[in-house]
Amino acid sequence: MKYKSQKVAYWFFALSMLLFGLQIVYGFIMGFAHAGYDGLHEIIPFNTAKAVHLNLLVVWLLSGFMGAAYYIIPEESQRELVSVKLAYVQLISLALVGVAAIIGFHFNIWEGRKFLEIPRGLDYLVVVNVLLFLGIILLTLFKSKRRTTTSLVLSMGLLFAALLYLPGMLPFDSQVTDSFFRWWVVHLWVEGVWELIMGGILSFLLIKLTGVDREVIEKWLYVIVGLTFLSGVLGTGHHYYYIGVNKIWLVVGGIFSALEPLAFLAMALFAVNMYRKGEKKHPNKLALYWTLGAAIVSFVGAGLLGFAHTLPQTNLYTHGTLVTAMHGHLAFWGAYAMIVLAIISYSLPNMTGRKLYDSTIGRMAFWFSNIGMIGMTVAFGVAGVAQVYLERIMKIDFMEVQKLTEVHFMVLIVCATLFTTGVILYMIDFYKHGTPTDEALEIHN
């Protein structure tokens, strides 16, 4: 069996790498500005850097998820993608929409709603692009006789992610209602359906890397995504505590978001247990590192650090401070960036035929980036906690507090440099693998 159409995935991953690199550049611009060095203000003011940093994150992760789907779905459904040409059209249009949006941000063309800054005109193109992607994936599944739980969960996640983009496009006169539905997109993406995508990719990787029976892995996959939705849907309430809606959300959001770490804990335990149970030890050690790493770091970043400020009585003071940035960085890194890097690490040697399974560069990439990100999280955390006490409790003026916390951003920049070194090493490893070949895919399969 050979699925040459899986090659498409490589180019989505390459796009991911490129945009990820650019995202980090804008992160540095913001880090330096926070530390008091905003020399680029005239060309790239903070709000531009912020919009670019956030949207590049979303686009490179989506590109990674799409690449993962193009790689996983043919293998799971045991048939080629229905159209490789359209997949390339989709790739190019995704890149064009992404680049157009980013350029627009530099010319004050945006919607100015956090995470959803892409202007309305481009929103429609995003919808068309995602519909094309879903069409290719779902038609491939539909035409196949083999529909595995892994592929269904992954596709369901992608489908719901597309549907949930729509509430973000509804126009409202009230800032409160606007914000309310903005969270339908952002929260239900990252603490809901994106976890289906993550779960689907994780399940695929564990099946391949550990050799544990598919039925066992997929059974637990259901339990985990079940826990995710059970806690995550009503957990949306933690965004509604203090934006001008009823107090009922303090109770509902408080209870259900306190349960959210359970889903991540289950995911971490699941991944580690499957690894221990597995008799097959796949030679691709790096893929295993990233896979287990994603499950564990997401528990710490999304689960524990999310819990740290999710209770209403804590959030009253931490809401709108750098504490959120602390949680956000490790959560996105652990849950989504690392799972994308895991599927890339697994699939790259299979697509290119270069079995760089356990290179020193690859290992250094893993440790440097993770230690760097943990350092960044601590720096954000210290700055955030200081901000909460000084500004919110001691009632000291915002900018005075910002001056006092500048030093933490110097620490952040140092840690970010280590993180970036790791990411650059990952990219070098990516480049060293070369491009995919049909022969490699034939041998692999």
Binding site: S179, Y222, F229, Y241, Y242, W249, F398
Partner: protein, 159 residues
């Protein structure tokens, strides 16, 4: 031991139930009876102000209702705060910031000079006024006016 079928039922059932509750709570909390936003006070000026807020991505630096960029001050109670700081001239100060043509550097951190017209700046102020009156379940007090201005900041302001 849990079977795969049971696990699937747990996933689908749990998702359906929580989603239905979520929809129900959404309808409840957006209903007029429990409105905390003084929705009737959303005038065309407030709507225009919100549009200016969005088209300039103010949220990219500032926060409002606790949401935004964490780089510049929270603006939920900005009028009250500046009234206290500038002897009741809060609205005027905001307008002059927004209408400034030259580089603006409040407290050492640069802000984009938007050079807005008087009408545009008034719309943004109307937006802030409406925002400032929303019942935020206690958050309004946390970011509200009873802030201490340190002697150091007062010195700077008086210069």
């Amino acid at each position: 031991m849990l079977s795969k079928k049971q696990a699937r039922a747990f996933f689908l059932g749990g998702t359906l139930v929580t989603f239905l509750i979520f929809i129900g709570l959404t309808i409840f909390s957006l209903s007029k009876d429990v409105d905390q936003t003084n929705h009737e006070n959303i005038t065309p000026a407030v709507v225009r102000g919100k549009e200016i807020w969005e088209t300039n991505n103010c949220m990219g630096c500032h926060t409002i209702l606790g949401e935004g960029g964490y780089y510049a001050p929270e603006l939920t109670k900005v009028i009250d705060r500046l009234n206290l700081k500038y002897n009741g001239q809060g609205e005027q100060v905001i307008k002059s910031i927004l209408m400034s043509e030259g580089p603006w550097q409040p407290n050492g951190r640069k802000m984009v000079a938007y050079g807005m017209t008087e009408a545009e700046a008034s719309d943004v102020v109307a937006f802030f006024k409406w925002i400032g009156e929303i019942d935020l379940n206690g958050f309004g007090d946390v970011v509200g006016v009873d802030r201490k201005i340190s002697p150091l900041a007062k010195d700077k302001n008086n210069k």
